[in-house]
């Protein structure tokens, strides 16, 4: 079968992989790079469990083919914890605010929130809602997720 040589940067690290061109980015991340924090919930671009950041934009990795990620820069949940045990303020805030229950939506939620805070360090409630409108959570009712994002923003703003 025809293969594609995929060169991209994931969580700050360069990779060169040989993959079938019709492979989804989701599968490349999970299977080839063992980044299991990227989750699959619906496979049709509806639930947001597979959310990663590609070139500064939120994408559903189940809807992107490997080829489309050529030369891109990708960030997954694994890239948020800079070193073992040193959590990103968002991760810590998700814990502190009770924003995690089963945790299956959490990696995607974190990536959408991360992307929001990158461009908007002090979002209001509506902006938070817009930013994670594409991420389903069935457990929390979202309220404590909003609290967590606010808390993280506040802590990050205080730090800087």
């Amino acid at each position: 079968m025809e293969t594609l040589s995929l060169e991209f940067k994931v969580n700050g690290q360069e990779h060169k992989l040989s993959v079938t061109p019709n492979k989804r980015l989701l599968d490349v991340l999970r299977e080839d790079l063992n980044l299991i924090g990227v989750k699959e919930g619906c496979s049709v671009g509806e639930c947001g469990a597979c959310t990663v950041i590609m070139d500064g934009k939120i994408i559903n990795s189940c809807m992107v083919l490997a080829g489309q990620a050529q030369n891109s820069e990708i960030l997954t949940v694994e890239g948020l914890e800079k070193e073992e045990g040193k959590l990103h303020p968002l991760q810590q805030a998700f814990l502190d605010a009770g924003a995690v229950q089963c945790g299956f939506c959490t990696p995607g939620m974190l990536m959408s929130s991360y992307n929001l805070l990158q461009s908007n360090p002090d979002p209001d409630e509506e902006e938070i809602k817009d930013a994670i409108a594409g991420n389903f959570c069935r457990c929390t009712g979202y309220k404590q997720i909003i609290d967590a994002i606010k808390l993280a923003a506040e802590r990050m703003n205080r730090q800087s």
Binding site: C102, K129, R138
Partner: protein, 766 residues
């Protein structure tokens, strides 16, 4: 007693893994040399299987094994009549016919398409009422009718005829609810591997109830129960749902694993999950209520049909709970209820958070509002007048408010209404609606009581083992599963509190059927209630051993030893102390004491009469009241939920933040139930099978939610805690339709209150 660890919002004990992406859910677990399994599903809601042609698929490169019903080594009928694979007849579109095991997911996918099944179509039995009346057309030919075995539950209290004779008004109303999905974001996964060390099979996956899987798979595989070991992975939500489907998956992958001697993994797609997994049973509730002019309810009769699909192992339990709760939280002298589960050739009903309550509470709380309208009373007053108070008797004849079991409905209703500014808003919205013809505002109430734990449904046993290691670290294992609800954190807090140590010492391991005995399923909001008691029992045993050794060491009486905040000392003589870690060292190295203890909780069975349903249904109850405000665009039918104020008495919250999280989550699922969720079926085929057509609430749908926690003292549960998991979901749909009536003067008796129903103001399908 002042608590050190409980009643505090500490962070989840399993949170770090979840925010870093390290937690392993079923799909993240892989074993070397594993195969991938995929099921061939029925193409018809009902048909005879004439021929299964496997040839082409078998020849496909990478296909290792294919099984059909013939290959099931033991029984092909699991609890509730679920077949591992359909043998002669398919009875719904989710029936499996064959399963492929292949070297990759892609090959398995290709192979199932190459399998050709020849069928002879049979007219499916789809309509629940028809299935009840027509006993010639049967879903199961070995039965005499289509009523699910043991699913008829009833309640007989007082004299129903006399009750209605004494009524000034009598209303008869029918309410309907749809099939809905738990819609956990993680689809089901099961991996079966031949036990590497002994004869038998090991099963991993997103399994809510490991012991029922173990028992059923033993029968399917013709193994002893001890030869089947089940360990659940991190579970991405379940809400009652990861049960029958994972049982079938475990059966299929176990057969393949034994035949191929390789690990076999099955990951459901969302479409497969929605087709094959259980749903909330649809209900048809035929109510009749009689009341005096002053609003006193004198009689309630309810005949309920609950749709089961072709196989069912829950209707017999859910219907009992339903029959107990059918008259709601009200004092009613004369009661007659009958619940029947019905077989149909459709998707099937099972457990989903609430387990009959969301349907029943929608019915009874709509009915009470209709009665209030008829009598020209306020919805609040009619509830205050009739709600159960100390000394009243529940529908089962149980005396309420005895033995320190509080019954604070009146207080809760009053306070929630006050916080919601109920009376003022009713007036304000009336004025508003007079002035506005298109946009209407409404406010609605609902209230509930819910039996905590299994009650008369089964024995509420639970087990837990606590082990203290040499360095003072502590491992906890429960026979109950963590699915996201936060049970582990609650258990760890309870263990730490009981032992007198800090939470940081505690860690948890996943339930493994081979190391802890089956204490019953993780259902009925009993994780804290029953599981917490088992943890206390284990903790107390260990603490007693520790105190004995400490007393010897400190030269004082065992009774005056205090263990608190990781310190061990003599009461009133704090300086006579020993460090906790040091004490552990003494116990293990010097004294040879076992620091592993099992706690077992057994409250004994609740006694109820089968003929009348009378008796003590539950040892204690939880309560709630919600007020919901909505805004309706009568042109488009759009219903916006603006605000929900809900108060709950769930006892002492072990972890207030997580308790609130459970309630928020439940409330939003309740909002989905009331407003948008519904499985569409046509002629037995499923029209909705993924999140693009089965709509669940997104963050854009959340109203302003205000949860109030009451804590009326109740001695029954662990440290005063009761049940929380299911309570949140049940109040939303009824308060929503009541608010809709308030806004538009249209009464909706079938949920969801979607655009069509809201804009036309009537039921379309019934």
């Amino acid at each position: 007693m002042k608590a050190d660890v409980i009643n505090k919002s500490s962070n989840r004990v399993d949170g770090y893994e979840k925010v870093t992406g390290k937690a392993k859910f079923g799909a993240d677990i892989n074993f070397g040399n594993q195969l991938y399994a995929k099921t061939v599903y029925s193409e018809y809601p009902r048909a005879k299987i004439k021929k299964i042609k496997l040839n082409k698929a078998k020849k496909l490169d990478g296909v290792v094994e294919i099984i059909t019903a013939e290959d099931v080594p033991g029984t092909n009928e699991m609890f509730g009549r679920f077949p591992v694979l359909a043998a002669e007849e398919v009875k719904y579109v989710g029936d499996g016919i064959a399963v492929v095991a292949a070297e990759s997911q892609e090959i398995a996918k290709k192979a199932v398409k190459l399998i050709v099944v020849e069928y002879e179509e049979i007219e499916p039995i789809l309509d629940m009422k028809k299935a009840v009346k027509d006993t010639k057309e049967l879903v199961h030919s070995d039965k005499e009718d289509n009523i699910i075995e043991h699913s008829h539950h009833l309640m007989r209290k007082g004299d129903i005829e006399k009750g209605f004779k004494g009524a000034d008004v009598i209303l008869e109303r029918t309410y309907y609810t749809p099939f809905v999905d738990q819609a956990y974001i993680e689809p089901e996964v099961v991996i079966s591997i031949p036990d590497p060390y002994r004869k038998g099979i090991e099963i991993h996956g997103s399994i809510q109830n490991p012991y029922s899987v173990q028992e059923n798979i033993a029968k399917v595989m013709d193994h002893k129960i001890s030869e089947v070991k089940v360990i659940h992975s991190t579970i991405g939500g379940s809400f009652g749902g990861k049960d029958e489907s994972v049982m079938m998956m475990a059966a299929r992958t176990s057969i393949l694993a034994e035949r191929t001697k390789r690990p076999v993994k099955m990951v459901l797609t969302r479409e497969e999950s929605m087709t094959e997994s259980c749903k909330r049973h649809p209900y048809e509730m035929n109510y009749k209520i009689g009341a005096k002019k002053d609003g006193t309810i004198v009689a309630i009769q309810d005949e309920v049909y609950t749709q089961g699909g072709p196989y069912n192992n829950k209707a017999m339990f859910a219907n009992w709970r339903g029959s107990v709760h059918a008259t709601g939280p009200y004092q009613v002298d004369n009661v007659k209820t009958d619940y029947y589960g019905v077989y149909t050739n459709t998707i099937y009903g099972g457990a989903y958070r609430g387990f009959s309550a969301p349907q029943t509470v929608f019915g009874i709380e709509s009915l009470i509002d209709e009665l209030a309208e008829e009598l020209n009373m306020s919805p609040k007053e009619i509830r205050l007048k009739n709600c159960l108070k100390p000394g009243d008797t529940f529908a089962t004849g149980q005396k309420m408010g005895k033995d320190n079991i509080p019954i604070p409905l009146k207080e809760i209703i009053k306070e929630v209404c006050e916080k919601a500014d109920y009376e003022k808003k009713v007036k304000k919205f009336k004025e508003y609606n007079k002035k506005h013809s298109e946009i209407k505002k409404g406010i609605g109430i609902s209230c509930t009581l819910r039996g905590a734990g299994l009650g008369g449904e089964g024995i509420d046993t639970a087990g837990a083992t606590i082990t203290i290691d040499k360095d003072g670290s502590i491992t906890l294992i429960s026979d109950l599963t963590e699915m996201g609800q936060g049970m582990r954190t609650a258990h760890a807090q309870i263990a730490a509190e009981t032992l007198g140590v800090s939470l940081e010492r505690l860690s948890f391991i996943n339930t493994d059927t081979s190391i802890i005995m089956d204490g019953g399923p993780t259902v009925a909001s009993r994780g804290t209630l029953a599981g917490g008691q088992a943890v206390i029992a284990a903790g107390k045993k260990l603490k007693d051993r520790l105190k004995k050794v400490a007393a010897e060491k400190l030269n004082c009486d065992k009774e005056v030893i205090i263990i608190k905040n990781d310190q061990v000392y003599e009461y009133d003589n704090v300086n006579n102390m020993i460090d906790f870690d040091e004490l552990i060292g003494v116990c293990i190295a010097e004294k040879g004491i076992s620091l592993s203890a099992q706690g077992w909780y057994n409250p004994g069975p609740e006694e109820l009469s089968e003929e009348t349903g009378q008796g003590n249904a539950y040892p204690t109850y939880v309560y709630g009241c919600a007020v919901t405000e909505i805004i309706v665009d009568t042109k488009t039918g759009e219903v916006g939920v603006e605000k929900i104020i809900a108060g709950y008495d769930i006892g002492t919250p072990i972890n207030p933040q997580q308790v609130k999280g459970q309630l928020y989550g439940g409330i939003l699922q309740g909002l989905g139930y009331g407003l948008m969720e519904e499985f569409e079926q046509k002629e037995g085929y499923l029209k909705t099978d993924n999140f693009d057509d089965y709509l669940i609430p997104s963050i854009k749908d959340i109203p302003d939610i205000n949860v109030i926690l009451f804590d009326f003292e109740d001695d029954f549960g662990p440290y005063g805690a009761k049940s929380v998991g299911e309570l949140g979901i049940e109040l939303v749909a009824p308060s929503l339709v009541n608010a809709f009536k308030n806004a538009t003067n249209n009464r909706i008796r079938e949920i969801p209150l979607n655009l069509e129903r809201a804009s036309l103001g009537k039921n379309l399908s019934k």
